[in-house]
Structure formats: C-alpha cells, structure tokens
Symmetry: C2
Subunit: 194 residues, 2 copies
C-alpha cells in the first residue's frame, strides 16, 4: 500500500508519532496510533488531529468523529485480536491520570480471562493509570532514545520502568502497517456487500 | 420546573429509572442518569435511549450524540462538583466488566487527591470494575426493594454488599432534579452570551 497521507505536522502532544499511525478518519479529524507499551495486545489510542488536552475543547464535529473512529477501528480490532469486549476510556485531565496533554481514547481489546494472571480483568484500569500504563513517560523514553541516536550519544541507556519493555519503532511500524491493511480489507468487504 | 418529558418506556437495560434521569439530549437520542452507588460525588451515567448492549450496535448519529451529551453535561458537573478532571469510560461487553446490557458511559468528576484515602487516584477504575462498582447488582437490589414494597413483603431485607449504601430513590430524585436545574441554568447563560 502507498504510505498513509498524514496531515502536516501531525503530533501526539509534543511527540512525533508518524510511524505509529495506522488510521486517519475520512474527515481527517481523528487518527489511530499503536501503543508504545500496550497493556494487552491491540491496545491502541484514538486522538483528534487538533492537539488539545481536554474533551471540552473539542467541537461537536470533532467529538463525533473521534468516537465514531473508535467504533470504526474497533470492528477490525475485534476480528484480528479475537476480542469479545473492549475497554474504552479517556483520562480527561491530569487529576484523572492523563499523562500526555492531547485528548486520547484508550481502546483495549478484551478476551475472557485475559488478565487473570495479573489479578483479574478489573486490574486493567489499575495498570492503565499506574506506572506501567504511563503513556507520557513511555513516549519521553522513546524520544530520548531517538535523540541519543541522532546525537551519536550512547552514554545514557534508558532503564526499563517495568517488566514490559517499550517496543521498538520498527515493531510498532509493522503493527501499524498490518492494522492499516486489515482495516482497508474490512472497508472493501463492507463496500462489496453494500 | 415542569417534569422532564421522557421518551415512552425509557429504561436502562431492564430497569425503570425515570426518577434518576436528569437530562435528555435535544435530539432525544441520549439521556443522563444519576448513579445508585456513585464511586465519587457526581459519578453519573450517560446512555443511548435505544437499549443496545454494544457500541458497535449504535448508529453514527447515536454515537455522536452520546459523547456530545457526555461533553454537554460535563461542563455543569465540573462547576457544581468543583471537578478539575473526569474519568470517562465504557465497559463495552461482558469481558470488559459490563454488568447492564445497555451501553452506558461512566462520567466521574475528579479532584486532586480525591481518592487518596482509598489507595490513590488510579484505584477509581478498580472500584468501578469491582464489587462496589457493580451497576447491575445495585439496580437489581433497588428493583427487589421496590417489589417488596409493592408486595408488602418485608421478609427479605437487602444486605449491603459493601460499605457504600445504595442511595434511596428520594435522594437520587433530588440530585437528578438539582442537576437538571443547574444544566438549565448553564444553557440559559450560554444563550445570553451568544
């Protein structure tokens, strides 16, 4: 497939995330990106293209597009990650656990018993709000690693902050391309049946 | 204020909730109801009027209205509950913790340190998905108490399932009427300034 045509200067908060983006909504108001440290396979983020911290700062049209994009990508996530349910959550503001000041909807595919080894299904949110789900910190680490690479500076090695290792950019890019292809497949199937 | 004009046979899953409803969206596709067992003051639910279990079963228009209703009521919740943030969450399916088979968006006003005495801010989701946040069980209890009242049957006394007592219908009705008035006030103020 040809590269995804992204809006100019698309960022997630202060972070460059082009290689992680797997979807742009038809209206180009919302995008989906794969996660640096997914809490479960297929844990992705859906964001408005316009970077604002709070839901209240979105227009009605942007809000509508954001959550319809959640719905649109979920049907493909459900198929490819064999999900029976989803947790859909927004930390709307710092005191709700938000770590990147750019609205993002967590979409986490769920299966029966998928979190049993970590204390049961209800712990997923705990993880999301805790250290291991700290989206901002994970992105900061990635940025530091990138800058070190650019500067040829290898003195500082990012220490892992939990058992889950941040994934490589190559790995995320592969997942993003794969998801994009699967969404395109579903879109064509839907067209054929309409 | 005159009583809220509700859509005929409005229910939340199998439950009659008329006295808890504080808001109907202008398009009459979504409604807000106060919670039987709020995890924090102002914890409310926003639902589509059409009773379906999953987000994927809503139309694009219903989805847009649902989340724009979340945004609309949040601005009043922010003011009257002195909230600085919100947790916004949907348990989309049984394996994501859904206990009532009718789409509902949890909206939980947050303040700095509001959950410190319960183990910290990140435990709110844990509570939501655990026994104390079991919306379905709480509504079943309320229904049983109602039926006992109708039948004059007092043999069965509902045992509390946690420290948080389910609130009385009178208490919820009062909160619903108060919230409705405050939302109306904000609506008129916005009109005056436009």
């Amino acid at each position: 497939m040809p590269p995804l045509q992204l809006p100019p200067n698309l960022k997630f908060g202060p972070f460059s995330v082009a290689s992680q983006v797997f979807h742009i909504s038809p209206s180009r108001l919302s995008f989906g990106l794969v996660n640096l440290k997914p809490l479960l396979p297929g844990h992705i983020l859906v964001c408005p293209v316009r970077s604002v911290p709070r839901l209240s700062q979105l227009s009605g049209t942007e809000t509508a597009d954001l959550f319809n994009t959640v719905r649109a990508v979920s049907s493909t996530l459900q198929r490819v990650y064999h999900a029976s349910s989803f947790n859909v959550a927004v930390q709307d503001g710092v005191n709700a656990g938000q770590s990147v000041p750019h609205v993002h909807v967590h979409v986490i595919p769920r299966q029966k018993g998928d979190y049993d080894d970590k204390g049961g299904g209800d712990r997923i949110y705990d993880a999301m709000d805790g250290e291991e789900g700290n989206v901002g910190k994970a992105f900061l680490e990635m940025q530091r690693i990138r800058e070190e690479r650019v500067n040829g500076d290898r003195r500082f090695v990012a220490a892992p902050d939990s058992d889950r290792k941040a994934r490589s950019e190559e790995e995320m890019k592969k997942e993003a391309e794969w998801l994009r292809m699967e969404i395109e497949k579903d879109r064509r199937d839907a067209e054929d049946h309409s």
